[in-house]
Symmetry: C2
Subunit: 212 residues, 2 copies
């Protein structure tokens, strides 16, 4: 076994151990944690805004970005308890980062949304203490995404197809998209949404309520 | 220095040495190589289609994807000499992968486009033998992308703002976007394009001709 492979295995192993501890601690507090993943500009924050508007539980947000804190400012201005993590270059969140943020947020019963780095590849490889993974895909990214980025679609517990308000202006083959999703993932609900108009988010929040 | 940091430094070092060799070999053959980067669904392939239509030099394409080969099939059907690389999970192309593909493609004088994995983070960290980096951003991803993903914008030699045909239907603050770009990168031309209508690609090809 090469030294690179050994080191990567130990990185994953350490990450998963910390993730399991975070998950147990959140469960004990009555917190349901959702790892929100998607490509850059998929509308992760605008989806969170639509969700917290409809949620009757207390929302908490951990905002992951390489740099900048626009989304944290937006969520704080809406009264959502939010903490920013800047990775300074790293392409995904890991569980030690989340452990520190959870301590700092002082979370009580409710729903914790962890907005991962905008990246359809690396975040899917790392557990960060979540109870469920929400994947946000978009009609503007195109219908071939499940085929090209299978791991994120395979691991998702719920999949949102965002920016549905733009459907009249673009080519998006929903049957082809769904065929790709179902080849990887038989069970996750797939819900068409619009962060702009709010379409579909009642259904998303019903799903959260059924799990949390 | 930790073992992880040592290993990462040796990975970058090895990659850069191979990249320098590929670059020298392509230069000697009269090939200008462009590393095409962008988020998932930014329209990298549709931009390449618009570019090769207008190019009076011989185009070659190396298509990078985690899985699937839709884009290679499309380009081959247009008569473009194209080779597929599937990384099987890895989030960026590296120079050993490109070295093998270049040998297989049997490239003569012309322009080589290397379409990287759809990812606005990791590809910007790796030289792959290119003479220039082309970054494709989109109006649908939003105007905050230079602030959130600075390295890709900092390293780009040319920046395309794709999907301009959707501007009437979305909020995109071009001044804010440009302010973010220019804080990182004083010189790269920034060109508004549409892979759908062809807008802007004459200017992109003029830039390629001025360099190649």
């Amino acid at each position: 076994m090469s030294k690179e492979i050994e080191i990567m295995e130990s990185v994953y192993d350490k990450n998963d151990k910390v993730a399991a501890k975070i998950n147990a601690s959140l469960t004990q507090k009555g917190v349901f944690a959702i790892n929100v993943m998607g490509a850059p500009g998929a509308g992760k924050t605008s989806s969170l805004i639509q969700i917290v508007k409809r949620l009757d539980k207390t929302p908490y947000v951990i905002e992951g970005d390489i740099e900048a804190d626009f989304d944290t400012k937006t969520l704080l201005s809406l009264g959502v308890k939010t903490i920013q993590i800047n990775t300074g270059g790293a392409c995904h969140l890991d569980s030690p980062l989340i452990g520190n943020a959870v301590d700092e947020l002082d979370i009580k019963e409710g729903v914790l949304f962890i907005e991962n780095i905008g990246n359809l590849v690396c975040p899917a490889e790392f557990q960060i203490g979540e109870h469920a993974k929400m994947l946000i895909s978009t009609v503007t990214e195109g219908s071939d995404k499940p085929y090209k980025y299978p791991l994120a679609f395979e691991k998702a517990d719920i999949i949102l197809i965002n920016k549905s308000d733009l459907l009249p202006y673009i080519d998006f083959d929903q049957d082809f998209f769904m065929k790709g999703v179902r080849a990887l993932n038989k069970t996750a609900p797939v819900i068409k949404v619009s962060g702009k108009t709010g379409e579909g988010f009642d259904e998303v929040v019903s799903w959260i309520n059924s799990k949390a």
